[in-house]
């Protein structure tokens, strides 16, 4: 049984395989190898992940039922307002619609919604089939906007048209389309937009609390706990900060170009990143009082987090971690967080990492660490075994594999119910790692 297909070798860096050369480049940002059992999702998934947290929008999936069914309320984005986004709307196309076209059905569906509910904002996601049968959803949406005076924004996301990253970009374009009419160059700019946090388990709230505390106003959040009303204020912000660059740097760039809002990247994963990010935002937009408060606050929080880590470190130091996550940003921050705990990363891979992400990863890990792009279960199995990983950080699809191999697991995807951002996240993440890696159950497996 092969574990590494010839076509996959370019996307793997592993010393013993002799593949990947010096690790300075790795095959990535390419289509998945057919039959390789990729862990990747699709364009629609990428678009939906980014837009889904917009709480008061109707997210209509225009296509057959599967895509709507599998994405219904499975993510941990929380809302302080509407719960509408936790519903799943689909035109549920049938054989007849596929033959005769589904545009009319979509049009009637939108009408039904507008008549029955108070819709302000509708996103229409076109999935694979719509891309093939060629429904003009652009026209349907435009007509609906004109007829009802609300926003109906098409997101043309057939799964086959690229990778999940392409979906992120489509989502960013959709948001630009939403907020562009609210830009007025005469607006007085003030406050901060937070981009690229999805309020999983309340992470956006945690970050907002920090800024509230040091006196920095937040204008809009993309897209964690966002609503129509909050999003359209975004063009008034003085600055954008970008947490998940993979999904949202593009949006920041567009807003810089079109609205003249400068941006910079931040990270709220780990003690050091969180501290530096808070200080950076205070420096960039706060007054002297804010800078001083940020310094006091972060000093105190860092001290608390450090003394917390001191307690846990003896339980964790010397262990070995495997990481398989969606994007490069998350992988990089995880490697560093593990380093803070004294845990060595022995396998690291992403679904949609970019070349420069892998360059950074390469420089963060040891020479014997295996690096993979778009890995499959066979590769994960082999390398986790060979490197004797103690824990895997990944998404739910990878969880049963880790367990079968007797490896601990930590959820680090959109379904998680524990906040991993900010200082609170450091505590939660450390606890999560400890509770799995040091569970008594592994001992019994080894005895057996």
């Amino acid at each position: 049984m092969d574990t590494v297909l010839e076509e996959r070798k370019a996307s793997i860096f592993a010393q013993e395989l002799g593949c990947g050369g010096d690790g300075s480049s790795i095959g990535c940002e390419r289509a998945s190898v057919s039959g390789a059992v990729s862990q990747r999702a699709c364009v629609y998934c990428g678009a939906r992940v980014v837009l889904n947290p917009i709480t008061d929008a109707f997210h209509i999936v225009h296509g057959p039922i599967g895509c709507a069914s599998y994405t219904w309320d499975i993510r941990g984005s929380l809302s302080s307002g509407s719960d509408l986004y936790r519903n799943s709307f689909s035109t549920d196309l049938r054989e007849k619609d596929v033959i005769f076209g589904g545009a009319e059905k979509l049009q009637r569906a939108i009408e039904e919604i507008v008549q029955e509910k108070k819709a302000k904002l509708i996103f229409v996601y076109a999935t694979c089939i719509v891309g093939v049968i060629g429904d003009d959803i652009e026209a349907v949406c435009r007509q609906a906007e004109e007829k009802f005076g609300i926003r109906v924004i098409p997101v043309k996301a057939p799964g086959f048209s690229g990778t999940k990253s392409q979906g992120y970009k489509l989502a960013c374009d959709a948001m630009m389309r939403l907020i562009r009419p609210h830009y007025d160059e005469k607006l007085k700019k003030c406050g901060v937009n937070i981009l690229g946090d999805f309020n999983l388990a309340g992470e956006m709230w945690i970050i907002k609390n920090y800024f509230h505390r040091i006196g920095i106003p937040i204008v809009s959040t993309f897209t964690g706990d966002a609503s129509y009303e909050t999003l359209i204020k975004a063009p008034r912000a003085a600055i954008n900060i970008v947490q998940c660059a993979g999904s949202s740097a593009y949006l920041a760039k567009r807003m810089e170009e079109e609205f003249n809002i400068p941006f910079f990247k931040v990270s709220f994963f780990g003690v050091e990143d969180t501290t530096n990010s808070i200080l950076r935002v205070a420096d960039a937009v706060g007054d002297a009082a804010a800078v001083k408060k940020a310094a006091c606050f972060t000093t105190e929080e860092r001290r608390k987090a450090e003394s917390f880590l001191e307690i846990y470190r003896p339980h964790l130091t010397g262990r070995r971690a495997a990481i398989y996550v969606g994007g490069g940003f998350k992988a990089i921050s995880l490697i560093r967080q593990f380093a803070e705990m004294g845990i060595k990363t022995v396998v690291v891979g992403t679904q949609t990492g970019k070349q420069e992400d892998y360059t950074v990863i390469r420089s963060l890990v040891d020479a014997d660490t295996v690096i993979l792009d778009d890995a499959n279960p066979a590769e994960l199995e082999r390398f986790m075994r060979e490197t004797k990983a103690d824990i895997l950080v990944g998404g739910v699809k990878e969880r049963p594999l880790a367990y079968k191999l007797g490896i601990a697991f930590c959820d680090h995807n959109h379904e998680r119910k524990h906040a991993l951002g900010g200082y609170e996240g450091v505590v939660n993440f450390t606890r999560e790692i400890n509770l799995s890696i040091n569970s008594p159950v592994w001992k019994y497996l080894k005895e057996a």
Binding site: M1, V37, A41, Y70, D92, P377
Partner: protein, 884 residues
């Protein structure tokens, strides 16, 4: 159709066809499946199955791209099959088509043929294809379509055998194992199709094998044509997808189609058939039956309380409805997401009889239903129990109903693979879960229900008062009458009582933001010698505020009042304000809480501030007419929008008065401050005072404006002290007047006559001002934004910092591409290198991961130091400056 919207499925009660197909393939020995379509389908389906079965679920995809979609996916599928064989070495491969492959018209049998021609070495791998467009049904149809493909594509061995074919639908692995045990117990030879009892519910083995090792073997399947009989456990399977019907038509194997053996009748029917086929009815089986009967009786009275909504695949719903009905639990609604023409007629007698017994007036049976419809029915039919898969959890959450999880998917609990619903024991376990949910529901609510229904007290009003941990209650518990205590607090409050010498107060400056702009105000920090509202030397965090309070309280036993008076507005910073009060209340249960506010946010927070124990509030109300207010207020920021003019004044004044009334009604002592502004509101003040009196204000405080340099009213002529006194006297006929106001700072400490705030100002000031020394500007080449991780020549942006070697301060991010400073126009043709250099030419150093020789020399000529490093940005910047 069971939906509220005609053209829209709202919260689907179904999944797609390929989901069913790959599940069925999981019941075949050493079989892998590949979805012919785009990548996402397999990932979504794997995620759904992995969380239900808690097993690794590996399903390949042909990963069709745009090109494959336009020119056909043959190449992808051929490669996919080959790769899948290399990685898993399966003996069988199931190809299930997706929406995409079906719509673009892929000829899978032809591709399969080509594959065998290209790869004679793989001829031993049996490739089965099922046509499973996602839009052509649900997972239910997909499941049987795959089974049909299997029996019709596997070469059959002719000749009779003694086996019985047992074809099942979407059962749990545990139920499948039960069927195997049952047939073994009855000493019948059988072929079970499919058998995922191990593959989707495996144990922990020393060596994990990623190819599913168990399941129905191809050899067994090839014997199905020669079997003596087929039992198909499905009521609703469509004829064209029915393996039993196929085996009958093609090979003459007689068959019977039975309902799921859920409940007594279903299981009796299966047993009867098995006995008829020569099965041995053992004592163990009879005992299980008699235990089921006994249990039915034990719980029948509780079951009669149930009004269930059952949803899911047609066979599951039917079996469950029958189980409920025979136990007297009324299934008032039966829904399936599948399009199933015979669903209603098949179920109607069951629901009708159950409803009739308990005089339940209505019941509903609908196919092609969604959960929006289910929600409607829950209300309409007074449902108290939901039975189905985890997708019903939102309805359960919304209505607070128990959901008995069974069938697929169960992704919010563990053990989906072990749920039992068939056989006598399985049915009983299923029934127990239902009845226990009903019992628990009743146990948890009946005390409250009965109490509400029957108990009447003498003084309902007194008893109905909600429990609140208010300050007043704390006081009441300490033995003092609340009203008396409030009077005492007011008497000790220096601002509400004449004479400012006896009791001290502290203003904690925790509220820096303001949400309105008064034309007489300019808020600033740090004017230690100035004393007026809005001024403070520092801003405190709630923790710092608590520390300060503790210090002052130790020094000043006569400290009776904690006030929050800005320097902005206490309610525009509600998190800080409330946290401060909470912390102080924990430390000191007695001190009086006082807030001062412009009132804009009062309607929103009034209830909360009362809960926090605030007993005294000062609201500044300068007008009650929007036209006058508009002259005083430049703008307000309210709920995210900036208002100006009369609109602003209208909102503000409305909120002030609403808030005042609410507070007064709830017993809070309210003081209203009025700033007297010559030519603006001086003739209007009497109206203001009358109005606030009417709304319950305790006292008003008419004040002189303090002219502030830089504010809009800087040059406004002042009203004289005499004018103010005259106005106070005039208004004194309506309401008590405060005559001793000192217009305090936002960080005032002490008695009104002796402010000692300067003594208590933070000592941390030295660090802040000491840093004018040696600031150096540093440019950082970064990709991640957190690390120095970018090659200089590849940098698209620089993060610019200033540092004194100890503390790095972020200045800005500069994009190289668009970088262009000052008035000079960027040369379009300027080389990339020039732009790079230009972008950082004001910096003393540049940090990068690596740098080429040529740029390094150029930078040296510009006097810019280059440091190559790999480190966290802030750390590297400080190091660089220290090393300079």
């Amino acid at each position: 159709m069971g939906r509220n919207f005609k053209n829209l499925n709202v919260n689907p009660c179904k999944m797609c066809v390929p989901m069913g197909a790959v599940t069925a393939f999981y019941g075949i020995k050493k079989c892998m499946s590949i979805l012919h379509g785009s990548q996402g389908c397999s990932t979504y389906i794997r995620r759904h199955m992995a969380t239900h079965y808690n097993e690794p679920v590996d399903i390949a995809s042909s990963s069709l791209t745009e090109q494959g979609t336009v020119f056909g996916g043959e190449k992808n599928l051929l490669q996919g099959l080959e790769n899948l064989i290399r990685l898993y070495e399966p003996e069988v491969i199931g190809i299930a088509t997706t929406c995409l492959a079906e719509t673009i018209g892929e000829d899978v049998p032809a591709i399969r043929h080509k594959f065998y021609e290209m790869h004679p070495e793989y001829r031993h791998v049996r490739i089965i294809n099922a046509s499973t467009a996602g839009y052509a049904g649900t997972q239910y149809e997909g499941f049987f379509r795959a089974l049909h493909a299997i029996v019709s594509q596997v070469e059959m061995q002719m000749g009779h055998n003694e086996k019985i074919n047992l074809v099942t639908g979407y059962l749990s692995p545990a139920d499948t194992r039960y069927l195997k045990d049952l047939l073994a117990e009855m000493e019948l030879e059988y072929i079970l199709l499919p058998d995922f009892s191990e593959n989707l519910d495996g144990g922990h083995e020393k060596d994990y094998n990623r190819l599913p090792q168990a399941g129905t073997s191809i050899e067994d399947i090839s014997l199905m044509a020669g079997a003596r009989y087929t039992i198909e456990l499905s009521h609703f399977v469509q004829a064209e997808s029915s393996p039993a019907q196929y085996l009958w038509e093609k090979y003459g194997v007689p068959y019977v189609r039975l309902d799921l053996p859920t409940g007594l009748r279903g299981m009796d029917a299966l047993l009867a058939k098995l006995v008829e086929l020569g099965g041995r009815l053992t004592e163990k089986i009879s005992k299980a039956r008699s235990r089921y009967l006994d249990a039915m009786v034990d719980s029948h009275k509780y079951n009669a309380l149930g009004r269930a909504l059952v949803f899911g695949e047609p066979d599951f719903v039917q079996g469950t409805v029958k189980l409920c009905a025979e136990n007297g639990l009324v299934p008032v609604a039966a829904l399936t997401g599948a399009v199933c023409p015979s669903f209603k007629t098949a179920l109607e007698p069951e629901l009708a009889a159950a409803a009739e017994t308990q005089f339940v007036s209505g019941f509903v049976i609908e196919a092609d239903a969604d959960f929006a419809r289910a929600e409607e029915l829950v209300k309409e039919l007074s449902v108290n129990l939901l039975i189905g898969n985890s997708d019903g959890r939102r309805v359960a959450e919304k209505f607070g109903l128990p959901l008995i999880r069974a069938s697929f998917p169960i992704h919010d609990q563990v053990g989906g693979q072990r749920v039992r619903t068939i056989g006598y024991e399985g049915s009983l376990r299923f029934l127990d879960r239902m009845v226990n949910a009903l019992l628990l529901q009743r146990a948890e609510t009946f005390r409250e229900d009965m109490y509400r229904k029957y108990y009447k007290r003498e003084d309902d009003h007194a008893a109905a008062r909600p429990k609140q941990e208010t300050d007043r209650q704390v006081l009441a518990e300490s033995g003092l009458d609340a009203a008396a205590m409030l009077a005492k607090k007011t008497a000790e409050h220096p601002c509400f009582t004449c004479g400012g010498g006896k009791y001290a107060r502290i203003h904690l400056p925790v509220a820096p933001q303001c949400n309105i702009q008064c034309r007489y105000c300019l808020r600033s920090f740090d004017c230690p010698n100035e004393s007026r509202p809005g001024v403070t030397a520092e801003i405190l965090t709630p923790e710092q505020a608590l520390a300060k309070y503790k210090r002052v309280k130790t020094d000043m036993p006569n400290l009776k009042v904690v006030g929050i008076a800005g320097p902005g507005d206490s309610l525009a910073n509600f998190a800080g304000t409330s946290e401060t009060l909470r912390l102080i209340r924990e430390f000191d249960p007695e001190v009086t809480f006082c807030l001062s506010t412009n009132g804009l946010m009062l309607p929103m927070y009034a209830e909360e501030i009362i809960k926090l124990g605030v007993t005294h509030v000062t609201i500044t109300i300068n007008a009650v007419e929007p036209s006058i207010g508009a002259k005083i207020y430049e703008y307000i920021d309210y709920l995210g929008t900036r208002y100006t003019g009369e609109a602003a004044a209208g909102i503000l004044l409305g909120n002030q008065l609403t808030g005042l009334k609410y507070l007064a009604v709830h017993g809070v002592v309210c003081k209203v401050n009025v700033v007297m502004l010559k030519g603006v509101n001086d003739t209007h003040i009497e109206t203001v005072v009358k109005k606030v009196k009417e709304l319950g204000a305790h006292i008003t405080n008419i004040m002189q404006m303090i002219p502030v340099k830089g504010s809009a009213f800087e040059a406004m002529p002042l009203v004289s002290h005499k004018d103010v006194m005259a106005m106070r006297e005039k208004c004194g006929q309506y309401i008590g007047q405060m005559l001793h106001c000192r217009q305090c700072r936002a960080d005032a400490v002490g008695t009104l006559n002796n402010d000692v705030s300067i003594r208590y100002r933070s000592c941390a000031k030295s660090a802040e001002t000491a840093s004018e020394k040696n600031l150096q500007r540093v440019a950082v080449a970064t990709k991640s934004g957190m690390l120095v991780d970018q090659h200089f020549g590849q940098a698209e942006e620089f993060y610019i910092y200033e540092s004194d070697g100890e503390q790095a301060h972020f200045i800005e991010r500069r994009s190289v591409a668009k970088y262009c400073r000052g008035e000079e126009v960027c040369d379009e043709k300027a080389s990339r290198m020039e732009k790079l250099l230009h972008a950082i030419d004001d910096c003393g150093s540049v940090l990068a991961l690596r740098i080429g020789d040529s740029p390094q020399q150029k930078l040296a000529l510009m006097g810019i130091r280059v440091i190559t490093t790999y480190d966290r940005i802030e750390t590297a910047v400080n190091k660089a400056v220290r090393g300079a």
